[in-house]
């Protein structure tokens, strides 16, 4: 099963919290999504470019407020983030 960027975002939302700054690791995400770490890192890079994920130098990562609000929109798959 291929892992999509959206599924990584949804897993980030399940495993972390933007307000409480709770984080997870790439390894944990890869395990939960049944994929490899480079795949997760690639998707997190994309989510970070969209300001939907926040990675830290210690290798942890969390969803952002923007990411939580995006998922709350309950949109279909077509999403483009145009940040300043």
């Amino acid at each position: 099963m291929s892992v999509t960027r959206r599924s990584v975002l949804e897993q980030l939302a399940a495993a972390t919290d933007a307000t409480r700054r709770e984080t997870t690791t790439f390894e944990a995400l890869a395990t939960t999504l049944d994929t490899d770490e480079p795949t997760v890192e690639s998707h997190v890079d994309g989510l970070t470019a969209c300001e939907l994920a926040k990675p830290y130098p210690d290798g942890s990562v969390r969803i952002t407020i923007t990411g939580e609000e995006l998922l709350a929109l309950d949109t279909d798959e077509l999403v483009v983030v145009d940040s300043p």
């Binding site: 999509t4 960027r5 959206r6 975002l9 933007a18 994309g46 989510l47 470019a49 969209c50 300001e51 939907l52 926040k54 952002t64 407020i65 923007t66 609000e69 995006l70 929109l73 949109t75 279909d76 798959e77 077509l78 999403v79 483009v80 983030v81 145009d82 940040s83 300043p84």
Partner: protein, 200 residues
């Protein structure tokens, strides 16, 4: 798809004829003398189409061929949706969320071009624009699809409205041609009748 493909000339485009047995769509006409009612049915004809309290008849004898429609040309003509707008939709479906910069890089457009066409898609009702809070302050604009069923309905009805306008123009041209021949019984109809009429 390249510009060349999407901009194929009419001469190069395949022609198609209405096939009453294809089941993709049906054309019905009223059989009452003097009634010009012709309808296009996409989907189930249940209950059957009727006019003047009579069932309409399915058109079975169409000799004229038409150019095979190109979806990009249809969207451009009917909705004013340029190729770039469709490219953006096709680029993002199944891949999102994508940033506007990523879309611009993948398609080879300027970032400002992507933003302009995203706003065009919003104007057409094919996308929605929302503003989300940004962690560092300010807002982030997000363009997202509307409900797919609603999008299907909007585009189909929008196309029907466009087709209705086109049909009305054809009817108008036919009437004008009749008027012209009545007023100019000794003159032959110009090769491109409506263009010469517009010059008058």
């Amino acid at each position: 798809m390249s510009d060349q493909n999407s901009a194929r000339s009419n001469d190069e485009r395949d022609e198609v004829q209405y096939d009453p047995n294809s089941g993709r769509y049906d054309i019905y006409e009223c059989t009452v003398s003097g009634c010009d009612n012709v309808v296009l049915v996409v989907g189930s004809d249940d209950p059957p189409m009727s006019c003047h309290d009579q069932l309409m008849e399915r058109v079975m004898d169409v000799e004229m061929s038409v150019n095979s429609p190109d979806v990009r040309q249809v969207l451009l003509q009917a909705f004013g949706l340029p190729k770039a707008g469709l490219d953006i939709c096709l680029c993002v479906i199944g891949e999102g969320p994508l940033s506007a910069n990523e879309v611009a890089e993948q398609l080879g457009y300027d970032r400002s071009t992507v933003t302009r066409y995203l706003n065009k898609l919003v104007e057409l009702g094919l996308l929605r624009r929302s503003e989300l809070n940004r962690e560092g302050g300010g807002v982030v604009k997000v363009y997202h699809s509307i409900d797919l069923e609603r999008m299907r309905r909007e585009t189909l009805i929008g196309f029907y409205a466009w087709a209705g306008e086109a049909a009305a123009l054809i009817e108008e041209a036919n009437l004008t041609k009749q008027d012209y021949l009545e007023k100019n019984p000794d003159q032959e109809l110009p090769d491109v009748f409506w263009e010469s009429f517009l010059d008058e």
